[in-house]
Point group: C2
Chain length 428, copies 2
């Protein structure tokens, strides 16, 4: 990983370093759009066509029957079952507290207003499949959906050899998924957003995927016949702020854990100590040798870097500007500076809080905003699976009190019929 | 308004009736996209070009200085000022309760997880302008932004004769807007999403607009260089469920108050009483005669209808399926059925709760999900102007307890570097 010093580089270089590896989303969207249109128009016929074309799927149905899932779950080994139980328990506990509360209040005499939270009825979860099915994502999406109380939870995952693994099956059952489909990619998004003759569409789609899945999610989110989405998801990111008191081999391992995610991922270390930076760099070169996903990690490191700064406050300000998905604070006084963190998805404090813990089992969600979106949105939560409705009930007295103001305001905005709906009630 | 009876029509007719007036969003997006691209590439130069072309804007700057706003606000008449104060007070009171609470908890011994809510730093408010500036929208967006504590609130509104009206100026000041620009349409969305040399971009854009503004908001929301948005906004809608105990002239006035919004709006009445339906229809024909926006209302009524049902439960089920932006329940036992409402933006209960009250001053927000989006999202709230960040701090003991599970899960997902970041900490 290349090392730069903040005081020796121009603003232009700084901007270039912090710009994420370019994803030409517009180009990908152009490829994905006709596929989605086809699915929207032709339903199952189009779905089977693309599942065959892109995923070599030859089955007669995407649906995996509940009995098959129950069977598969029985084969889970004991240690793995315990690990999933631990993760489930921590994630459940942390998310349970997020369930939003309804309230009623009188804003003025006789004007009773209420806000109620209601689970989204139909939700769709995209679970990345392929070489390894990400059952951890099943937990991260399925648990808040369960807590929210969504009536119908649909999950899509392209299964290796068309078989659901024991770990995924066990997770699916624990989360109470109602319908499980063996389908991935753009097809899965199309299925959930538009439905078919036999499958009802969902109201909101969740979950991470590759750039085609992301483009598909974006496109259905701006089609009123489509579905809402949790957030636009891009390649994964990690920024670490560390001082010389951190262990260089820990930091190197942390950077690599994120670098193995994808070639277009980005990892950044900001530190105040030059020697420490050198040690981390050497450790990375050592540790990367034995990684099974070494090639991916190496590609990622090309757009990654180490930056030397004078003060930790500089690091914080750069981090807030970058708005990383994951932020590790491995500093002597890490706790003291957490209040200064304004933009990030999830923050890991101290020597032992490596990102993997949050990815799997500490309790926080791993579906987090990338691409700087943490400036405007947080990770997936129970609220993501609910929506609010407001109610108002106005008594005759309340009406009499508020009506002159409403008539005045409506007439000022030249909306006479709005004013009339109030006026007509006065004379009675 | 045409009247149908549920038992005499086919499912096909029913679906046709409840389908909203078609908006070809894809076509509009195609028109809007190159304009946004131009603004993204060329900043101010493009902005001035389109402001001149679409809005006949000849000024040298879009910025309206604070002193001009303060001056304009001084000219507000007393009655209007009082009306705005009433609205502000009720909206503020209702929204204040929405501020989400941060929490910390131990998910397991030594694993401390936290969720913090932080205001979005830069927010942009789109205020519809033209013949009448919708200062009520200024209140509905500006108040939750103020409560959330957003550091920089930008507002855009195309001002009639380039002059800010006293009502809008007074509302802008009450909400504490930081930057106010005299610009509307696609240009305003482009300015907020991409910024210019002189204006910093915003992180999230709020507010309703015409179909071009809506398309522009959609497009910038799926461009990683753009901004997030509050929600996709379509034409306004009202569904009323009423029984024979309701006053037909009230119901007619309610339907017209929504119908005057736009030609592509839709209003629906579902009732159990045929005679009542007839009376409402006659009242509409009478009341519409004197409306200044009669032509718009008449166009809207063409895609609107009255539906006769046997039971109120049928009406509720149809309403939940339609997911209206506004829902009026003018029934003898309205309060008893509110628990059955699953999808709606805002609900108005009883004889005196006409929609205009909520549009202006009861306290609830009037920025609500249209086009059936209330199945998945609620109206604008204080949370819309904030985002959450999760934090975790794991002690050595907590780490020792959780690490075997995390290693097991990471290795099962074939993410060895994720497992390594845990393993490397064990030996120390």
């Amino acid at each position: 990983m290349k090392t730069y010093s903040l005081k020796n580089i121009s603003d232009k270089t700084l901007n270039r370093l912090f710009s994420r590896p370019a994803v030409d989303s517009s180009r990908i969207q152009k490829i994905v759009k006709p596929i989605l249109e086809d699915i929207k128009q032709n339903g199952n016929r189009a779905l089977f066509k693309y599942a065959k074309k892109f995923d070599d799927f030859n089955g007669k149905s995407f649906l995996i029957h509940q009995t098959k899932i129950t069977e598969a779950a029985k084969n889970i080994d004991k240690e793995l079952k315990q690990a999933i139980d631990t993760a489930f328990s921590n994630i459940y506990k942390f998310h349970k507290r997020q369930k939003p509360k309804s309230y009623t209040l009188e804003t003025a005499g006789g004007i009773k207003c209420r806000r109620s939270f209601i689970p989204i009825e139909n939700v769709g979860l995209y679970i990345p499949g392929g070489s390894a099915e990400l059952f951890s994502t099943m937990l991260m999406l399925g648990i808040p959906a369960k807590i929210a109380g969504c009536r119908r939870v649909v999950a899509c995952c392209r299964l290796k050899d068309n078989k659901v693994s024991p770990a995924l099956a066990y997770s699916v059952l624990k989360c109470g998924v109602n319908e499980f489909y063996n389908i991935g990619g753009v097809q899965a998004v199309g299925l959930m957003a538009y439905g078919t003759n036999s499958i009802k569409k969902v109201d909101k789609i969740f979950g991470p995927g590759n750039q085609f899945v992301t483009a598909a999610k974006s496109l259905v989110s701006i089609d009123s016949a489509g579905s809402m989405i949790d957030m636009p998801a891009g390649p994964s990111e990690l920024l670490i702020i560390a001082d010389k008191f951190a262990n260089p081999s820990f930091i190197a391992a942390d950077l690599l854990s994120q670098a193995e995610h994808g070639k277009d991922s980005q990892v950044i270390l900001i530190t105040t100590d030059e020697k420490f930076a050198e040690k981390v760099s050497n450790e990375i070169n050592k540790q990367i040798q034995t990684l099974p996903r070494r090639k991916i990690a190496e590609a990622c490191l090309k757009s990654s870097f180490i930056l030397l700064v004078d003060k930790i406050d500089d690091a914080i300000s750069l981090s807030n500007n970058y708005a990383p998905e994951h932020l590790i604070l491995n500093l002597r006084n890490a706790k003291k500076i957490t209040g200064k963190i304004k933009n990030a998805g999830s923050v890991f404090i101290g020597e032992y809080s490596t990102e993997s813990l949050g990815d799997y089992a500490s309790g926080t969600n791993h579906s987090l905003p990338t691409s700087g979106y943490s400036k405007a949105i947080g990770g997936v939560s129970v609220e993501s699976f609910m929506k609010s409705i407001t109610f108002q009930e106005v008594s005759k007295k309340g009406f009499e009190k508020i009506s002159p103001a409403v008539i005045k305001l409506a007439e000022q905005e030249k909306l006479q019929a709005h004013a009339n709906a109030v006026k007509i009630r006065i004379s009675k």
